[in-house]
Symmetry: C4
Subunit: 364 residues, 4 copies
């Protein structure tokens, strides 16, 4: 890309790969198993062709929207991602700052490498992502802290009873450096720093600390526990989406965890339409359907919205931006996305986000 | 290809790539974004398989047809393309001369690098392509000039409220050389010559000069303003095709602007059948459906016609011919196409253009 | 393949490519245009997956069958191919000898490089392929000679009003060597030996000598003219197959001329089922449907028969065999095919050819 | 894979390829003909995308199940494979030991290189695979021995009337080394050790010794002969599955023999759903449908079960394990599979094997 600097998210990914230690790059970019699902997320998006509209009679597309409890400058949130200090010393503070500048929600991970309260101080609209810990007292504490810190949404990850089998990390015997810790869980025992040949310390930590046996009754408990809007992240089967609705959820994220959990799971964009239909049939607009997995451009956002998503989460690209240039790099990623989205909406004749959902698509 | 000279349009493209400065080649051949749509235009055409007819009882296929207000030697027009002097000093004069020799219409671009009136003097059947300028007085002037110069059709481009994000041009900081100007807009302010790192000057010019907020009421204004046949170029959604019909349009061009505007838009050939059906349902033959995007052979013309197009526009190949050998090169391109088309029609048992539309196709 | 010798037809093709002058290899193996149809013939066959049957209770599959007026050892004929002396001095004599040894019909081409009567002396079951010449007296003479020489079937090629645009031959300025002539047409003017830059002399000859304007009335004339079984070769559209039936044809060959005529035509195997259905609906078994195009193995024969073909024609592989080792090479090709077919039938649980037609298939 | 050791079955395959003589690797890994079916087995599995369930409320998936007469730790058996001493001196003893450790059935091949009774002594749950020999006395003897040795299931291979045309073995003139013999058939004449250029000695042996003309009446004879559960291996067409049911079979294995018999046969996973439906319609659960062909991961097992299989057989990976490290290598393969399966079930929200069959799938 010469002197030009990154012009698209793929440029930023290439810069990040060059900037990061190989094992960190592997941790960030890898998937589970044969990485079939990781690849499918991208190819399935590429196969969605759009039929743009013309002559909309507007001069500037408005990308603003409401995502659950948050007003956002575009239908995008920063996906929850663990240990962001792995890629840059400023970690979550930098990423949240980028979200603040961009005007979109930032989802704080349970296993953030900086404490939730510090991240909240950045001033972004923040949501909190929950990995249900084996010790329910810890869960209760995390919920209380999220509420107190002003998190606007609570997003429970439901596709990680255990960590997916990420062969790159196992080959690298990947573990966290000493200065990167699960800051929200300080004091809790962690195996994420123990280097064991052929094993991922991240997986070992999840196995030790996360609750594997989570069930729908726990969701009801959670629903009763907090008045925050609740979102389940990691839904692919429409039957689960209906159960989520029936459990009083305010949203679901159609997600395969970026191809990092069950290898062989459907591309999230392929699973989206049936989930949208099931949720719509059950409660109309009352439960919002978000999507993540492979979103790398403004066109991808159009594809997801045209197939019924209310908004999308973007993950790895934020880490790429962080790796390259901290808060500035992450902001650049979001700025590129915002520009691409606005231009794509303009080219597709969509004056606002609602119009995007009315676009027709064709499978290639 | 040795001493033989170009035997197909792909040969000419290779010669042109060798002949042109890299940044001009990039400007000519590139698409927007990840160039998904650019590639799809070709692969979608290749996937259309034809069922030729036999024993038609004719010795020589007749390729002649009427395209809107013009009698043409074949169902092909030269697509409107900007700044043709970029690839050869004779620019539009040479291309129009090739169209004249071939007996097909030449569509003059609003941003031609030679004045419309000079091009008209070449003696080809000319149509005028309109980019609606912010200054409506300029638009009125362009229409009046087109009428006076004898343009037979007015073709309004509706898929360019802004320029697509063409990364190649941005990386090249592409701008026009001093001697290539928008000759029809002389006196108007232009940023197309300003070199800015990471930006396309062509995009900057479009942003500054073109009307981004064009709407259907403007089409009605235009319809009332001129008695020339009116065509909207850049329609992909059948709903827009119906609106065009209802606005009194005489034709539409199913087009994604050669993959240069919304990346992720459907291949034009994939969008064609639904548009043909919608237009036919609405007004029968009264509105003509043309197509552009990826046409590179006589067989491609058969594919488009078999799927319902009345005719096609050919763009980049003309520039390739110009780059290689001016008017002679462009004429060679059209001559190759004419030969290929006649031979393909003969091999497909189609005595005339109407018979081509009766061919059956199979998706591969 | 080391010392083993060819074990499949692909082996023989590789040996032939090494043995032949490049321009002859190009003439033999090339297709028209971008060679889309040439490639599609193979990929479409590869996409047909078979569901073999088991426990048929037979020890040895019987491959014998009747093809029109001929008893054959397997449902295969040698396709008509021009100028076989191009690849081996013994030309058609060697190929017919191979067919005789194999017990299958050999189709003599109008433009054979050895006289029909000499080929007939080899003792194979021969059919005669007709390219309708401009001079109808020549046509009448060819028919009379075919009848007198004991040809059992007359096969009229209907997909060659002109020659397809074969770029390889044009680039090579391909023409016949002086000692290879259209022996059946001796005395007739031929341009097939004139070398012209950028042109195929074969195409020039066809343009000069063959009747381009053949129509269905000519078929009726032919039907009245001879009592030989009549077959039209080069049918892809079921509407033409029905017309053939109505014109009293005894068979059709679903064919795109090996990808050498209309580039962009459907793979013959893709066109087969609709033709089989249309013919069956019209006359049941009374008109036989054969297929050629890409048959390279016993499994391919099963694929074609399972989709409804009565038999197949094999072309280029015979030339490969000839090129490698004359009659012996061609016989080796047919022997490999026979072995493969018998083994494939055995593995598919098909005791006889009729059982093959009852196999189910799945599109990959 | 560095010092880590194999982390997936593909790793083990790579290690095995490095460890084995090329002609043995070819024998193990090759398929018949153009190896179309061999490749299809894998690509068709990769194209099955799963929709995992969430919040199942269990902490540890239970992979245990019953396969015909055997309780197994997971829905997997070791496929019958000939001459396992080819890849390791301990051969079948080592493989059976691995199955014993894993707690899954081991299917002894008729052409095992160690006597059935010795293999039985290892203590695994064993089934016996029957190649019907021409000499019925040998068949009767094999059945009696299988019963006496405690085999729990008798599996008759029905897709090998003759050996498929395995070109690699023919090119290698593959034959058995002197110390590898068909131990169960000692005394019987064998050609499997005769090296003949261009031929596979394995094929020659099968042609000489196996009954090619097996039919449904033989199945009835067999059904009457033994009270062991009977399974037919090598069914792809649902019509044969129904005949199997009607012949009193207790199970069928949907299989194309690992792409080693009829090249062009459907991928077994593509044939599975129709067989499952036909069997279910005929007898509900009373006849079990197993599958083999390309299973290389826990996710593949989920794919097969989600499409209706009761269990799968795994073949080549066991040989890879044997080749790398004897019983320990084979056990490692099964251990990897068990881990992958349990983790995949956990990630798919399937507490037990029955839940896997309730998963939805999407074709990519």
């Amino acid at each position: 890309m010469g002197e030009t600097g990154p012009l698209c998210l793929a440029d930023m990914a290439r810069l990040a790969e060059a900037a990061l230690p190989p094992e960190v790059w592997d941790y960030v970019s890898g998937g589970s198993g044969a990485e079939t699902t990781l690849a499918a997320n991208r190819t399935a998006l590429d196969d969605i062709a759009l039929l743009p509209r013309v002559l909309g009679g507007f001069a500037r597309a408005c990308t603003g929207c409401r995502l659950l409890a948050t007003d956002a400058s575009m239908p995008v949130g920063v996906a929850p991602m663990a240990y962001q200090r792995l890629v840059h010393p400023d970690g979550e503070l930098a990423a949240a700052e980028a979200a603040r500048v961009a005007g979109i929600p930032y989802v704080v991970s349970t296993v953030a490498s900086i404490r939730l309260e510090e991240i909240a101080n950045v001033g972004a609209d923040i949501w909190f992502q929950l990995y249900w810990q084996r010790d329910r007292a810890v869960v209760e504490d995390l919920i209380a802290r999220a509420e107190q810190a002003g998190c606007q949404v609570l997003m429970l990850t439901v596709d990680l009873p255990i960590l997916g089998r990420r062969l790159r990390d196992m080959r690298n015997a990947f573990s966290l450096p000493a200065d990167v810790v699960a800051a929200n869980l300080e004091g809790a025992p962690s195996r994420a720093h123990d280097t064991v040949t052929g094993e991922s310390a991240i997986a070992a930590h999840a196995a030790a600390a996360f609750e594997a046996g989570l069930g729908w009754p726990d969701i009801e408990w959670l629903r009763a526990r907090t008045s925050l809007p609740l979102v389940l992240k990691g839904i692919l089967d429409p039957r689960d989406a209906v159960l989520a609705v029936e459990s009083g959820m305010d949203g679901v994220v159609v997600s395969n965890h970026g191809g990092r959990q069950l290898d062989g799971a459907a591309a999230s964009i392929d699973a989206l339409p049936a989930v949208v239909k099931a949720v719509g049939d059950a409660v109309g607009d009352r439960c919002e359907v978000l999507l993540d997995g492979g979103i790398r451009s403004g066109t991808d956002i159009l594809r997801a919205l045209a197939l019924g998503a209310r908004g999308v989460l973007v993950g790895r690209p934020i880490l790429h931006g962080l790796a390259v240039d901290g808060a500035r790099g992450a902001a650049q990623v979001l700025s590129l996305l915002a520009t691409e989205l606005r231009e794509a909406m303009t080219l597709a004749g969509c004056a606002d986000v609602a119009a995007v959902r009315d676009l027709s698509t064709v499978e290639c």
